[in-house]
């Protein structure tokens, strides 16, 4: 899941300052699950924007809507008439959704969220980063724990010298990914995997190789 967090209200107010008719658009996928941009958050933000604007003497008209998914053109198409009646769109989707909207409509589209990472939920209300989207998954040899997403230094062959008592030297409340990997491999009886040297990673499959694209020839028209 893609996780995100709401931007400070002040920043949003800055974006929409010139406009008074706003379409506030949520997304019922990842950002709903991470409580950042679902129907509920749309409602809260709408209230907050209206009140903040009113404070500076401006009455905002906000239309609230939440799409099934903002990163698909068909869903995005649904709001054409709403967009037509708005001066600007504030999207509560992840960056993908914002761009989908921006590509489709010739109206200003502003992000309400800072898209953070691909992660999972640890427990109610807590999410942490699990995947960096490197394009060449090596979880198979690291005990199911990703050293790229979860090691601050993206080390491939064991911890750095800063790992102490199982925690990372950069952020002490983050566990050292390599410590976790070792414990996990020990648990699985696969410590020999650890000894296997992982060669230097080819980052072309990651973002380092420029924007990526997936084409399924059987599906693509």
């Amino acid at each position: 899941m893609i996780t995100a967090e709401r931007k400070p209200l002040e920043e949003l107010l800055g974006y929409i300052a010139p406009y008074s008719r706003i379409l506030l658009l949520g997304c019922n996928e990842c950002v709903t699950v991470c409580a950042a941009g679902g129907r509920k958050e749309v409602g809260l933000l709408a209230s907050a924007l209206k009140m903040a604007a009113r404070k500076s003497g401006k009455e905002l008209q906000i239309v609230e809507h939440t799409l099934e998914r903002q990163c698909d053109p068909e869903y995005v198409e649904e709001v054409a008439s709403m967009v037509a009646q708005a001066d600007a769109v504030v999207s509560m989707a992840c960056g993908c959704g914002v761009q989908q909207m921006a590509m489709r409509y010739a109206k200003p589209v502003f992000p309400a969220l800072n898209t953070k990472f691909m992660g999972g939920s640890e427990r109610q209300g807590v999410w942490d980063e699990r995947c960096a989207g490197c394009g060449n998954c090596l979880l198979g040899v690291t005990g199911g724990i990703c050293p790229i997403a979860r090691c601050a230094k993206r080390l491939m062959n064991g911890p750095c010298g800063g790992s102490a008592n199982g925690v990372c030297e950069i952020t002490p409340d983050v566990p050292c990914a390599w410590h976790l990997i070792w414990e996990r491999l020990e648990e699985l009886g696969q410590t020999e995997d650890y000894l296997e040297i992982i060669p230097a990673k080819d980052w072309k499959t990651a973002q380092g190789g420029g924007p990526r694209k997936i084409i399924r020839e059987d599906l693509a028209e």
Binding site: S47, M51, R54, K55
Partner: protein
């Protein structure tokens, strides 16, 4: 000038604070007339949206009144409500509304006097703060509706 009479929405749990307000009534313990009660089955039902909407519609203050810690009819609805109140307070600050306009209080069904006292105290506090900064331009500036 007429004294500013704050409008305060009190979300009251049916099992405790709502009953406490009834008790205050039956004991004729007066509290300010601007305090208006919305009955909920549990403060756990009170959504951040309800709190923000109350302010948006012009409330000067909002009270969430739940059971004493450990007394929730539904285990911990009051604890969850308190977290939501804290979350909403941060939102309020971003908007530019004093966070102390929103308050979570706890009481038992028998505490009619406490209800009246709390309602009076929060009214006085809000009176001191003045009308909500986000009331509409045409608002009647705090005259009790």
């Amino acid at each position: 000038m007429e004294q500013f009479e704050p409008v305060i929405v009190a979300f009251c749990c049916h099992y405790c604070a709502y009953t406490a307000a009834d008790t205050a009534g039956s004991q004729r313990l007066s509290y300010p007339v601007g305090v208006k009660i919305v009955r909920v089955p549990c403060t756990g039902k009170v959504d951040a949206k309800h709190l923000l909407t109350a302010f948006e519609k012009g409330a000067d203050g909002v009270l969430v009144a739940g059971c004493l810690v450990g007394d929730c009819h539904f285990k911990d609805g009051n604890v969850k409500a308190a977290r939501r109140v804290e979350f909403t307070k941060k939102y309020l600050e971003e908007i530019g509304i004093e966070a102390e306009r929103l308050e979570m209080v706890r009481m038992s069904a028998g505490m009619g006097r406490e209800f009246a006292e709390t309602a009076t105290a929060i009214t006085e506090k809000i009176r001191a703060l003045g009308p909500s900064p986000v009331k509409g331009k045409n608002c009647c500036c705090g005259k009790a509706a």
